[in-house]
Subunit: 681 residues, 2 copies
Amino acid sequence: MISVPRAAIRRCFSAHAASYPSRTHNCGALRAEHADVPVVLAGWLLPQRKVSNALSFFSLRDAVGATQLVANRNSERSARTLDALAAVPTESVVVVEGSVRLRPQNARRSSDPTGDVEVLIHDFTLLNPACHALMPFLPSDPSSIPNEELRSRFRHLDFRRSGSLLSSNLRKRSEVAHVVRNYLNEEDFVEVETPLLLKSTPEGAREFLVPTRVGQTSVESSTPNVPRDSTTPPPLFYTLPQSPQQPKQLLVASGAVDRYYQLARCFRDEDGRKDRQPEFTQIDLEMAFVDWGEKQQPTTGVAPSDDKWRIGGREVRRITEELIRRVWRKAEHVELPSSFPVMTYYEAMSKFGSDKPDTRFGLHIQNLADHVPQSYRENLSNRDELLEYILVRAGSPGEDFLAASNRISLDPNEGVDRFVMRDGDATLSWGRETEALRDIGSQYGLSGLDVNGLNQHLGLRVGDTLFIARRHMFSGGGSSALGRVRSRIAEAASELGTYTPSPTPHFLWVTEFPLFTPASADPENQRAILDSGDDKRILWCSTHHPFTAPMAEDVGALQQGEFENVRGQHYDLVLNGVEVGGGSVRVHDADMQEYIFEKVLKLSNNEKASFDHLLHALRCGAPPHGGIALGFDRLVAILCGTTSIRDVIAFPKTGGGLDPLFKSPSTIPDAILAQYGIRAR
Amino acid sequence: MISVPRAAIRRCFSAHAASYPSRTHNCGALRAEHADVPVVLAGWLLPQRKVSNALSFFSLRDAVGATQLVANRNSERSARTLDALAAVPTESVVVVEGSVRLRPQNARRSSDPTGDVEVLIHDFTLLNPACHALMPFLPSDPSSIPNEELRSRFRHLDFRRSGSLLSSNLRKRSEVAHVVRNYLNEEDFVEVETPLLLKSTPEGAREFLVPTRVGQTSVESSTPNVPRDSTTPPPLFYTLPQSPQQPKQLLVASGAVDRYYQLARCFRDEDGRKDRQPEFTQIDLEMAFVDWGEKQQPTTGVAPSDDKWRIGGREVRRITEELIRRVWRKAEHVELPSSFPVMTYYEAMSKFGSDKPDTRFGLHIQNLADHVPQSYRENLSNRDELLEYILVRAGSPGEDFLAASNRISLDPNEGVDRFVMRDGDATLSWGRETEALRDIGSQYGLSGLDVNGLNQHLGLRVGDTLFIARRHMFSGGGSSALGRVRSRIAEAASELGTYTPSPTPHFLWVTEFPLFTPASADPENQRAILDSGDDKRILWCSTHHPFTAPMAEDVGALQQGEFENVRGQHYDLVLNGVEVGGGSVRVHDADMQEYIFEKVLKLSNNEKASFDHLLHALRCGAPPHGGIALGFDRLVAILCGTTSIRDVIAFPKTGGGLDPLFKSPSTIPDAILAQYGIRAR
C-alpha cells in the first residue's frame, strides 16, 4: 500500500497521481444479475440529468459501454458526493464506488445492454479533470457535430464522440483479424513477417524511399553546408514495399514454408486518390503446389466442375472463399454460398463493361453487331471494335432503372449515345437525346439499318431507353464507357429510390485477365520514367505484375509473341462491384520468367538485376505456387457499413497524405539530413 | 480439364507449366495407418540411395517433413520410372504418385514421424528441375556446411538446408504469435494497427526518415540537375517509429480502446550492434485504468501482497505473466510459477551489478564498506561511492565458479582487482593477482585495514578469490564493473563445464528505476545533436522515455528538483539475465508531463511541439494508463534455443544493416530523388 498523502500531490499537478480503487467492471458489463453488488467503475463522466434538487443521474462511459449513475441527498454524505460530482466538468475521468440496483420497471431500456440497472454512488475520485476551454468540441455533446477537418485534427476526441462509430469499428477490425488468423492457423498457414526495409524494384507504382546512415561516414552536425568531395559515398536507400510479393514468393519457392500468410502493411506514395492511404493493410497469402485440382481431396469443398475456373490456384480459391465465409458468419451472421461464381474477364467486360462488375442488378450490356448490316459488321471487325448497347425498360418496384437512365448526364466525349423510344407514325422511331448525335445513320454508318427489324428483334416498346457505344476489343483497363454508364444508372436509381441494392453480398471471381497491357494504356506505369535512356521500344507492361503465370493454353501464344492473346492465371475477388482482392498463380519456370522480363517487358539488365534472387530461387527447384492479397481496410470498411477506409483506420491520413493529428510529414533540419548523405534540392 | 499437350510446353521452357496431379498429403503426414492408401506427394527430391540395381530409395521433402520413396524394377513400367527418377537432379521439385506401404520391422524409425512407412512409386512428374551449376551449395548435402556469408546471400537455399532449423524456427514463431494473440483476444484486448509513417520526435535513438512526394511540385525526370529556385517547397518527411508509444497512448488516453495490443514493427537506424536489427517486432500492450490493485478482483491471480511490486500497473504485470506462462506452456511444455519475483533496480545493481540480473546463480555482490576503517567509509560516502566485492569459493558440482574466476582476464581500466587467498605465516594473507595493484593499502587507501578481522568476518579460506571494485552510487547505466565480472565468471565456468545453468527459466521483474539519467551517461542520447542552438544546459534525460510516471512517493522530489531521487513506475521483464521487455505506468497528468518536458528535460518549444497532441489528449480527460513492450524476436530466439535473432527472422539484415539477399540498401537515380525534392550531398 502506498501511503502518500493524496492532498499533497494534488496541490501542484492537476490529476490524481496516487493509488485509487481498482475497477471491478467495465461500463458495459452490469446486468440485472448484478443487483446489490458493490462495484467500482471508471470512465468518462457524461452530463448530469437533474431530476430534482435531491436526485440526479449521470452516465459513466468507457470504451466498452455506458452505465447510469444515481446520486441523491438521502444522507449528508451522499449529498456531499452529489454536489462534488456535479461540480466535476463533464468528460473528466472519474472512478466511482457504488452499488448496483435494478431500475424501476418503467425506466428499463432493453435496447441498452446496461439498461436494466443503475449504480447508486457512494464515493468517487476525480482521476483527471477535462479542460473544456481547450476542447474544440465536447465528445459527449450530441448536438455538436464537428466538421471533418476538426475531427481529423482532434481524432483523439472524435474517438469518444457520441454517435461516432470509430471505436466500435476498431473493435470490429480486431475481431475480423482474429477470425482470419484463426482460420489460416487452422489450415496450417505459417505467419511470417517479411521485411519492410526492402529493395527498390521497377514494378509499377510509386515507392517510398528510406535513406539510411549505413555506409555514410559520420558527418559533423555543425557543418551541414560543407559539400562533400568526390570520395563521398553516395546515399543509400531502402524501399518500403508496395506488397510483400517478392519475399513471399521466395519463402514459398524455397520450401521454407508450404503455406504463408501475413496481415501485411504496404506502402504507396501517390497523390491522394479518393480513399487511398499511403499505408494500408493486406491479408496476404501464398501457397506451394497450387494446382488445377485434377484429383480433389475428398475433404475439400469441391467447386462444381462445370464452373468457369479454368486456371490453377484452386486451393487459393477454396481458402479465400472459406475465409470470407467465416468472416461474414462471425461479423455479419450471414451464411454465404459454398462457392462463389466465376466469370472471365472477357465476359465481365462484354456483359458488364467492368472487370469488377456489380452483379446485384441486371442492365446487361449486349452486342448490337448481329443486328447491323453485314458491311458495317465487317468494318467494325477490321478495326477490332464492338458495337454494344444497354436496353433499359420499366422494371419491377425496387429494381426500376428507367427514370434514372433518363436522368444521368452523358459526357459527349465518352462516346455513348442515348435513344428514347417514341411512338412514331406506324412504328417506333429512334428519338435523339444527345446533341452530339446528328444522325444515327451517319454517326454509326448504319445507313442500311433495318430499324423496324431491329425494333422488333429487341422487342422495343415506347419509353424504352437504349444506350449505344463502340468499344475497342483490346482496350484493356478496368471499365468501358458503357460499363461506367451502367454504374451511374444504378447509382442514380439508388438515389431516386427506384432501386434498392440487394442486401445479400454478391461475391464474384473474375479470371483470365489479359496477362499484358499496352504500356500506353496504363497510367500507373512508371517504366517511362525509370527508363530514361535510349530504349524506348517498350510496348507492353504486366496487367498485374510480372510474376503472374500465363494460362497453360496460352503458353504457345506467349512463345510466338502474340502477347495480346495471352491470358493470365490471375483472379480478382469482387464484392458488389468493389475489388476486394486479387492474386494469381505465379511463374515458377525461371526460363519463362526471364523470357517475360526480356522479350515482353524489355527490362534493362539493371532492372532485371533487381529480380536476380527470385530467378535464382526458381532455378534451384521451386514448386508451382500462387497466392492472393485481400484489401483488409476495404473489407473491414464494407463490414462496418462505411464507404471510407479512413473510418476503420485508427490514425488515417488525408487524401493528400497528411496526418493532421501527428502533423506529418514535416521538414527535417539540414544537419540531420546530412547524416544520411542527402540535402534538399 | 486442361488439354494442352504437355510435351509442347516443356520443349521451350524448363519447368512443367500445365496441370498435374494434386497432392493428397504433405511429406510429413503419412503414418502406419495409411498403409495401402494411394497417395500423391509433392516436394524436393533428395539423393538416391541405391540398394541394388533393382532397388533404390529416395527421400521426398517439403516444408513439413520427409517421406521415403521406393522404386524397383518389378515391372517394365516401374523400371522406367526408376531410371527416369534417378536421372532427375536432386533438389528438383517432383510430384509423385504411389502407394503407402509399411516398412519392414527392422527398417522402421520411431524417431522419424514418417518412419513407419514408405511410398512405392508408380509415376512421377518433374515440376521444376534444379540447376546444380548455379547452386553455391546443395541444401540436401549434409556434408557441405556453407559459411555464414553464403548462407545469408542465399537465404532461400539455407531455408531448405539439412540441419538448418530456420524453417522450423519460422513455424515456432508463428505458433507463439498465435498463442499471444489468442490470449490477448481472450482478455478483451483490441488489436489496433498504428501508423508506420509517423512524425519525427526528439526522443532518444536514431530514426529512419521517409521522404514523400507530398507537397513537391512535379519535377521533370530529365532535368535532375537544374537547381530549384527559392520558391521550391522544402522536402517533407515521415518518420518510421521506434515504437508505437505515442499512438498507443493516444488510443488509450482518448478512450478509443480500453486495452490495446499489436505485434508492432519498429525501426531503429543505428550501426549494427551485435544482434540488433534495423527493423524488429514488439508485442506491444497498453491498458487504461491501471492501478496499484488496492481491491484485487477475486478472479485474478493475486500476487503475494508482500512482494516488492510497489508501483502501479499491476494489471500489466498480471497480463504479461500469464501471457509468458501460456507461451512457455505451449512452446516448451513448461509450467512457470504463478507469479514472477520482483526486485528493485537498487537491489539489482547492489546485489548483481546489473539492471537485468541473471538470477540462476549466486556470486552476489556485497558491500565491503562495513569492514573498512571509519575514515575510509566517510571518504567513500563523500564521493557517493561504494566499495563492493564478490567472494568466490569452491562450490558444488555443476555450480563451481572458482576455477573460472581465476581464468577470466581483467582489464586494468575497468577498476576491478582480484585477490586470491593464500596461506600466510599464521593468518591468511591477500595475494595479488593483478599487475595493476601495487599495494592493497595504497590502492584503496586502506592503510588501517584490519586484515585479520576482515578475513575472519568474511570467513575467508585458502583458495577463495575476492574481486573488489568501487562504484559510483548514481552512475546509472545497465551494469557495474563488478556486475560484468560476475557475468564473465559464469560464462567462463559454463565453458569450463564447472557450471551448468539451470534449465528452469528465471523470470524476474526489475522495478523502481531512476526516472532520469544524467545526459552525459547516456550514449544513445541524441539531444546534443538535435539541440544545435544556444541552450546547452541540458543535464537530464529520461532513463526510458519522457512519458514514464514517477513513483507516487517521489512526486515531491520531482517538484523540488531532486531529479536524481525520483524513481519511475517502470518495470523491466528479465529472463536469465536477458531483458525481454519493459514498460511503465505513464504520466496521465498534463501539468506533470509539461513540467517534465520543460523543467527536467529542458525541451525547446519546437521539441515540445511534437508532443502537443499527447498533451492535448491528457488535458481532455485521460485515464491513468500503462503498458509494456516485449521483444518478440528475442523471445522467439530464446524459445528456439538460438542466441541470434537472425535465426528467427525470415529475411534478416547483417549487423551492418545490409540485406545480402535483396541487396538493400542501394543507390537511387538522381531523377527519382528529385521527385522527393532531395539530392545527394
